[in-house]
Structures are given as structure tokens and as C-alpha cells.
Symmetry: C4
């Protein structure tokens, strides 16, 4: 397969992911960004300012592993969070960053992490084979300085290499996977479990 | 492009916006009205009494900047709120007025304004480049006297020229933008943030 | 138009109404029933036991004004509530009875009526021209004896001829209109307003 | 009809059921599994690891009544819960196991059962002809040892032969019926009633 056809295939996957994610209401307005790493190490990523539920091929650009544009389009500021994840995890090929309501609410109501325990759905994550486990999703402070935000994530991931998703407070969620489908699966699982924790928090508080 | 084709293009945009907005549940029954200003200053606007999720071209009429009918159809009473916004903001070309549940709830539970702070999604608004800001959406008392309601909005907008949306209590939301897509983007952003504030209010009160 | 084509037209409207209503989640399992009165006074009505989101023409039967089958199909027990409404209101031609979650919840949390005040959306009801009004929706005890239930509704409607909808406790909602579209409009409006009242009740109680 | 065409027909029903169930949000990520018993006693069942909203014929396998693979595909661990239900109830031909949010929440907030009373929708269940009844849905502790979990269910069903659904805590819901449509009907009814109970619990607690 040529580099060009690989890019178009990745772009089609990101477009389809955007339809799916927007159908859930997780990318209001023009929020969010999605990427896929190609076989040659370059990365297809959504340009900024487009509605992620109605992406077209022209709304996907190509960058190198250092977030430099390879096609003259201007990458969004948050691109640095994607490339930091690709550098850290050689086996991943997709990063999805939507803004789900549940992630935003959790970031305002829980402290610097949310702990998920005793859910069968935790088995959606790689390497987890029983509900009797404990998955922690960290919550980082939001920051318009992306390198500072990436450094915050890097410090956490250095200490917690098994982490499979993180929340940025008042902002959204980052998930990643070996391909777009795995990242989508994690996204669905995380959102469902955040919805559980929010509802349980309310019920238990009254 | 002829004046006629411009009208049909604007009508098609309003019809599509109606499908999108109804898909979110924001225009129950025959509530809401939408408009788009054409290049010649005339305004395409939905007639009253139609379901906004199932609009046809015949359900869009043409008025002048003073809300006088240009095609013999009868404009809805609320047309005066649209024309007041177009007179005030020369650069806007779309006004959307749906009745989202969240806007109605906020109007009953918050005072005369709702303050949105520290959300990444605030960057959906023009001129905002950081979550570390404060966006205020005013809440006006409902009034069947539209010129009195328009005067209420005008007084507020005179004092707050950066305001990009307002709520009418027990009624709905007004947003506007340079084009229909920008107004839709603001609408999605505002509804999402109102949903956040409502959920947080409940969680924090228990 | 022949009687047969009139029946098919009414059946198509009920089928479309079922799709719309099921899309909102208001007819779970095989709950609910819908009817339309034809020009000759006979009534097209859904048979029982079918999912209302997937109706076919064969799932609609024809009865006379006394709920007798005109085509050999067996009418559902609740048919008597439809015919009682058609007898009372000569101008109506559609009755919709879904089971929305909000109606069931309201019937458990409010007393024998729910009062809707100060909502712009109240103007969806015939004869209402301002939010500054008061619409009461009565809540009747559920009863498997349909003639007793019809008598309960009749007694209320005798005393409140302007009533445009009623709730049966733990069961669902009845709305009616001059045609299927008007009844659908009332249904959307009532459900929206019940959602408002339920959310406000919760917010105000905490 | 040949055994092969019967299998394909059952597979098509499970695929359609998956679309319906995923549309409700009841099978996040790759959770859930569905099966249908064929006339010869063999069982068509979803393989594990696939998203249940996007099933293809290849994602359905054939097992015998003891959960042995008949086509070389590897059955999921939970297959044993399906076969236990088929052995117990000779008249059922479908078992659906989704992971609805409401079932997970109920399992965390209610004890070892949830009691449903006084709902018209209870008539969705076979043999129930009035709202004035009491339906109990048991909640079992989750267990990765499926034979132990099946034994837990068996002990309960021995004592409660009329039970038509059960919940596994932090996990999901099992429903069964004479065919896929009946099981879907039960699923819609149970989820609706769990939603009622959860909302009422919150309202009554404040």
C-alpha cells in the first residue's frame, strides 16, 4: 500500500470515528481532536476548528512525530499531547480526545483521580481479566501551555505506565489504543464508567 | 448569485439547522424560530406554527430589516428580536432561537445571569483563547410584548457588547453568529455548558 | 376519497406517529396505543401486542364509535378510553396514548394533578396565547377496569372541559387533537414540561 | 428449512437485536452477548470481543447444549449462563445479555433484589395481566467463575421458577424469551422500570 493510500485509509477511520463520537454528543461545537499513526511513523490528525461529526478528508492533516506539518496545514495547539503519547507508547496507533460531559463533570467533582472498581466493563481494557481490580484515571489541571500540560501527563505516565486514559479538568478526555477501534472501545468504556460513578455519587450523597 | 437563489440557499441552511436542532430535542412541538440575513439586508426567517425539525422551503419567509413581510407571509411575533440583533450587530448573518430544556431549567434555578468559567469549551466563542475566562449569559424575564422584551435585551447589550447569547426565562435561548454554522456552534457550546452547570449545581447541593 | 383509502391514510399517519414516538423512547416493549377518527365516524386504532415503533398496516384495525370491531380484529381493552374521548370532543380526530418515563415518574411524585405555569411552551396548546397562564394535567389512579377508568376521566372532563391531556398513574399519558399532528405537538409539549417539573422538583428539594 | 438456513436466520435476528440494543447504549465497548436456540437444539451465539452494535454473520458461532463449539470458533466464558437457561426452560429460544447503565446502578444501590410494583408496563411480562402485582428481579454477585455464577442463578431459579430476568452486580442483565422479539420486549420493559425505580429513589431520598 502506498503512503498516500495509507493516509486516506487513516483519514477515513478518523472521519468514521468522528461520526460515532459526535453521535454520542462527545464533541460539541468544534471541540476535540483525533489522530492515527501510520506505518511510516507519520501521523494523520484532525485540523483545528472543524466540527468532528462532519469531517472531510481535507480536515485531516499529516504531521511528523515532532508535530511538524508535512502538508503545509497548520496543526492545532493540542497536537503536542498526541505526539507525546505516540513517543511514549510505540505500540499505539490511535489517540482520541473528545470532550464528554461526564469527563468534565468528574473533573469538577472528584479530586485528582477517579478510581473505577468492581465493574465487569473494566475488562474492556487490555490486560484486565476480572472485575475485581482497580483502574485509576488521573485528572490533570487544564493549561493553555501545551508543553507544560504534556509534561504534567508525562510525569504521571512515567510513574503509572499502565494508565490507559487521562482527563484534563474542565476540558475532556484522552484515550489511546493499538488502533482506532481499540481507542473507541476504551472511550465507550470510560464514559460508561464515569456515568456510573457520577450517578452513584449523587445517589449516595442524598 | 440572484436574490432568489440566495434566499433558497439560506432557506436550505435553516432547514438543515432545524433538523440538527430538533435532533437534539431543542425545539419541542412547534417552538423556536431561526433566521439568516441575506447579502442585500433582507432576512429569511421561519414562519410561526411549524415544527422546526420538518421545515420545508414554504415555511421560510422573507422580511426586511424592520420585520415587514416581503412575500405576503405573516411573520411571527418574535421576529422583532431577530431584527433587533441584526441592527445591533452588522457582522452577524444568523440568529437561532430554540427552547432547550437546559436553558429553561437554568432560567428557573439561577438568578438573572449564569456565569461560565474555566471550561475549555468557552473557546468555541469568538475572541476567547483560554478556559481561564468568564462568560456571562444574561437571563431576561419572559414577556409577550416583544418590543418590551427587545428593549430589555437592547439595554443589556448596550452595556455588554461582547455578549454572544441570552436566555429568556421559562422560554428559550437566543444565539447569533456570522453565519448559520457559527450560530449552531455557539448553540452546542452553550447547551453543553448549561448542562454542566445544572449537573454541578445538583451535585454540590446534596 | 373512498372509505378504504381514508383508512389507509389514517393507518399511515399512525405508523409514522409510532416511529416518531418510539424514537423518543415513549412506547417501551409493546406499550401504548394510538387512534385516528375517520370522516365517517369510524376509528382506526392500533391492535394490542405490537411494538408501536414498528407498526404495519395490518397492526391497525377499524372500530365503530362504540369500540365494536368492524374488521374482525380484536380491539385492545383500552379502546374504551379512546372512544370516550371521541364521543366527548366532536372536533378531535386523533388520540395518542404512550407510556413516557416522565409521565410515570410524575404520577408517583406529584399528587392527583400537576400544574404547569409560566412556560412559553404552554402556547403549544390550543387557545393559550401567553406563558402567564396555568395548565393543569390531572393524574388518575390506574385501573384494569377500563369502563371505571373511563368514568373517572369523564367525571374530571365534565368539570374541566378545557383539559387537553391526562395521566394514568404508573401507566402513561393520553393526549388528543384535531389531527395526529396536533396530538403529537401536545405530546412533545407535555413531555418537555413534565421533564422541566421533574428536574426542578429535584433541584429544589436538595 | 435446512439447518444452515436456520442458523443464518437466527444470526440475522441476533445482528438486528444488536443494532437495536446498541442504539439504546446498552452494550458499550464489546460488552454483552446474545444467543438464539435453533429447532435442532443447537444454539447460535455471539463470539466474544466484538462490538454488539456492528455484528456480522462471522461473529455468530454455533454451540451444542453443553456449550461445546460446533464450528471451531471459541465460545466466550459466559456461554455457560446461556446454556443453563436453555436447559432449565425448554420453551425459550433466545437469551440476551446486555450491560445497561440502569442495571449496573441498581446493582450498586439496591440489595440482592429489586421489586417492581404497580406499573402498567409489568404487563409486558408473560402471564401478568394487571399492574397490581409484584415482580422481583434478583441481583447476583459478579463472579469470573461462570459455573459458580450459573450455580448461583440455578439455585435462585429453582426457588423462583417464574423469574424472567436477573441482574449480575456491576455487570449487566440477563433476559430470555420464547423468541428474540419477546426477549427484546422484556429487555425494554425491565430497563424502563429500572429507570423508574432509580429516579424515584433519588427523588424520595432528597
Amino acid at each position: 500500500m502506498t503512503a498516500t493510500s495509507t493516509f486516506y485509509q487513516a483519514a477515513q477511520q478518523l472521519i468514521a470515528a468522528g461520526c460515532f463520537i459526535d453521535g454520542k454528543g462527545w464533541v460539541p461545537a468544534t471541540s476535540g481532536n483525533f489522530s492515527a499513526r501510520l506505518a511510516d511513523g507519520s501521523i494523520a490528525i484532525t485540523v483545528s476548528g472543524k466540527h468532528k461529526g462532519y469531517l472531510q478528508v481535507d480536515d485531516i492533516m499529516l504531521i511528523d512525530s515532532e508535530a511538524n506539518s508535512l502538508d503545509g496545514k497548520k496543526p492545532s495547539a493540542e497536537t503536542g499531547l498526541h505526539t507525546a503519547l505516540y513517543r511514549r507508547f510505540p505500540d499505539i496507533h490511535a489517540v482520541l480526545h473528545p470532550h464528554p460531559l461526564n469527563a468534565v463533570l468528574v473533573s469538577r467533582l472528584f479530586g485528582d483521580e477517579i478510581v473505577l472498581e468492581n465493574y465487569e466493563l473494566l475488562k474492556a481494557f487490555r490486560g484486565i481479566t476480572t472485575h475485581a481490580c482497580r483502574v485509576v484515571i488521573p485528572i490533570f489541571a487544564n493549561d493553555q501551555d501545551i508543553s507544560r500540560l504534556a509534561a504534567q501527563a508525562d510525569a504521571y505516565l512515567d510513574a503509572h505506565p499502565d494508565c490507559q486514559a487521562y482527563i484534563i479538568a474542565g476540558h475532556g478526555l484522552y484515550v489511546w489504543g493499538v488502533d482506532v477501534n481499540e481507542a473507541l472501545r476504551y472511550l465507550e468504556a470510560v464514559d460508561f464508567l464515569l456515568a456510573c460513578e457520577l450517578a452513584l455519587r449523587l445517589h449516595r450523597a442524598v
